[in-house]
Each structure stands twice: as C-alpha cells, then as structure tokens.
Amino acid sequence: MNVSMTVNGEPVSHEAEPRQLLVHFLRETLELTGTHWGCDTSNCGACVVLMDGQPVKSCTILAAMCEGHEIRTVESLEVDGVLDPVQQGFYERHALQCGFCTPGMLMTARALLDENPDPSEHEIRTAISGAICRCTGYKNIVSAVRWAADHEAAAKQGA
C-alpha cells in the first residue's frame, strides 16, 4: 500500500507493507537511522518520535497508521549547525555515554518542554519514565533537560 505522511516538515510517500512498523519505515525506507530500534516491546523508549507533536513509541505504531500525520524525528532537532537546546543540554551536562537511548530521550524531552517550558525535576523524571538509559543513571539526563529549559527561557527573555 502507499503511505503518505509528513516527516520533519517534508511530505513523503512510499510503498509500505501494512505490517511495517513506523520505526522500520523511518530507518529502512527513509534511511533516517537517528531513531533507534531498541526493545521492540514499547518498554525502552529508544524509538520515540513525535506524532503531531506528541511523543509515541514508533515500534508500536504501524507506518500505515501515520498516513496523513506529522512525524518528527531526532534528525529535525539540529538546524543549520545549531543544536536544539535539549541537544546542547545533553552535551553540556554529559547526559549520554553509549548514546543508544539518546534519540528517544531527546524527543521525549523536546515534547515535554514544548508542553511545559518550566518542568520540575519530578515532572522531568515522570516524562522520561518510559525511556530506559543503562549508562548514566538519569541524573545527568534530568540535569540536561533542566539546562535546556533554563536556556530556552533565557533566550525567550532576550528576544
């Protein structure tokens, strides 16, 4: 079947088997390998992308179900060499080690800050509770998201 959706602002249209999962449509058909394919059981959160602005686990959604929807992946965060504040926050606060969970963490954090620009530590921890990191122990990830929130707030005030 043909599947059409918007990915990172660009309309895309491709043949896909009805059973193809969004994560594989992104990685194999569109060759957007930034989205990671982790546990395959909607537990680990490495495959999180935004669907119409909401974080979803792309291993548990069919590509066909995204027909007509807007998908945003980690590839959309950096624009013209400038990192998104959540990416910069991960860099500043050393919020990754192996990096496998990072794309999902970044997209989950991006969605959180879009909805709640000033989250408490508890709110950040709740938001990322569907994403598993086996290296850092979360402390630096929480700190990175907070860094991004502070810098976005400051940038807004400056503007």
């Binding site: 079947m1 088997e17 009805p18 059973r19 999962l21 395959d40 059981t41 909607s42 537990n43 959160g45 999180v48 909401q54 974080p55 979803v56 686990k57 548990t60 959604i61 069919l62 066909a64 179900m65 027909e67 989950t108 709740t126 938001a127 509770s129 569907g130 994403a131």
Partner: protein, 293 residues
C-alpha cells in the same frame, strides 16, 4: 526482529463503517485503536488477524462527558485524556490513581480505554477500575446496540462480551451521591504490570455504605470481581475493622499464580492489604464529598 504476520489494513471513517467492515471481513478482522495491546500480541504471533480496521480517525469516539446522570467515556479516549479529565477526577478519582501508574506517559499517549477493556488482560488496571465503578459498556454490532455490566462483559481470560462483528463504543459510569473511590497498585518498578492491584468504590449515604464495588487485577485468570466483600459492606457503617474483613475476603477469593512477580501467598497477602487500603481511601474520599456537598 518482531514483525506481525501479514494482514490487510483499512481505515474506518465512521462507526457504522467500522461495523460494516467487521461484518464484511468476518471473524479474522480486528479493530485497532492505540495498538498497544494488539500490536505486541501480533508481533509475538499470539494474534494473527487477516484484516485490521483502524479506528483512530473516529474522533466522535474520543470524549469524557456528563450526560443523563452518567459519565460517558468514548472508547477511543486515550489514557492521557483519562488522566487529565477533571470530570473523572471529581467523580471517580480511582481513574487518575490508576492512570498515573499505567505503563508510562508515552504509552499513555496512544493506548485507549476501549482497547484496554477489550484486551481483558487480567493484570490490566482499567478492567478493575471499571468493574469497581460499576461501569456499563455499550457494544454495537450490525444488529444494534446493547449495554452490559462489567461482570457480564468479562467472559474469560482475554475474552469479553464483544463478539466478532462488534465494536465497543462507550463506557458509562452511573453517577450516584456519596461516591468515593481509589485504585491501589504495587508493581516491581515504574510502569510495570501489577504484582497485584485493587480498585474500590463506595457509595455512602447517611453514614452507611449504600453500595460497594471492588475488583482485583493480576491475581486471577480474569479480573476478580469481589462480590462476597461487596455484599459484606452493603448496609454497614464504614470502619477499619470492616475494611480489614473485606481484605481477608480478597486474600481468600483471589486466585493468583506464582511467577517472577512473586509467590502465591505473597500475592494473596498483598491483595488483602491493597483492598483494605483502597477501601480506606475510598471512604475518606466519599466522606470528603459529603462534607463538600
């Protein structure tokens, strides 16, 4: 890589269209909404439907509203919207108790109440929540619509009164005065399935329990409706002693099996403790409501 077996996919554009498609495609067709129960089953090849009918476009099935003395919840209402509903928080706070501990926020963006109920996993929370709240579910098929209570709805493990050509369209929660409710769950880690969970609702009228609903998750092959304890509570004044007795009944009437989450005696004990706690919180909330009214 976990990949579902091949199937044909189509999107429904109306409730009648979805039911017509079920009728046309036969018993190997399945409705898909959030997909967070069905797709994992398909990936493990525990389910291999030949046709999927996607109802995600049916916005008319996504709502929480008050109508004719009931809270009515559309089948396509997602966990996140149940969690955020002020109407539910006011009248049936056990929904928010459960929704904060069902999976994780990202999963809750997709999963729906209709999907959770139709999956009828005994370890799933909303089946117990709806049972305790004395919910009625609306099932629509080619022959028309019927409304069934939760005891009739739960037919067996992973089996409900929703037949091959049927669509669950709505969950109805009758509003009665003096209501208080709570959901208590113990899990191994955040977002996991319950080791045991208990949903309770009490309707207190003039210091007496007019009605009670209690249902247990994860301690039986189906959601356990604790009718014997409900009968015990009716017509009595709420007390710690009474709730402890109900807890003892929970321990006796559940039928857990030993697994990685714990041995049988532990789960029985836990079911009793959580029943006691859920009733205590339900009573406190019911009395608060009474005080506010």
């Amino acid at each position: 890589m976990q990949t579902p077996a091949p199937f044909e996919y189509e999107r429904a554009t109306s409730v009648d269209g979805a039911i017509a498609a079920l009728e046309r495609l036969g018993p190997e067709a399945r409705i898909i909404a959030g997909g967070h129960s069905l797709l994992p089953m398909m990936k493990l090849r525990l389910a291999s439907p030949e046709h999927l009918i996607d109802i995600n476009d049916l916005a008319e099935l996504a709502y929480v509203r008050e109508q004719d003395g009931e809270i009515r919840i559309g089948a396509l209402t997602r966990h996140v919207d149940l969690l955020k509903s002020e109407l539910l928080a006011r009248h049936f706070p056990l929904f928010a108790d459960a929704e904060t501990v069902i999976a994780d926020p990202v999963v809750r963006n997709r999963g729906t109440i209709g999907g959770s109920l139709c999956q009828a996993d005994a370890a799933e929370d909303l089946s117990a929540v709806c049972s305790a709240a004395k919910a009625q579910v609306v099932i629509r098929g080619a022959g028309g619509e019927r409304v069934v209570g939760m005891e009739e709805f739960h037919v067996g493990p992973y089996m409900t009164a929703v037949g091959a050509g049927d669509l669950l369209t709505e969950v109805r929660l009758p509003l009665r005065s003096g209501a208080g409710s709570a959901h208590e769950k113990v899990e191994r880690r955040a977002g996991d399935w319950a080791i045991a969970a208990v949903s309770a609702a009490l309707w207190i009228d003039g210091g007496t329990i007019a009605d009670a609903g209690i249902a247990l998750s994860a301690v039986g092959v189906t959601t356990v409706h604790l009718t014997r304890a409900e009968e015990l509570l009716r017509g009595k004044a709420p007390s710690e002693e009474l709730f402890a007795q109900a807890g003892e009944i929970a321990s006796e009437d559940c039928s857990p099996s030993a697994d990685g989450r714990g041995p049988v005696d532990y789960k029985r004990h836990l079911a009793g403790v959580l029943t006691h706690r859920a009733l205590r919180r339900s009573a406190a909330r019911a009395l608060e409501q009474e005080g506010a009214a």
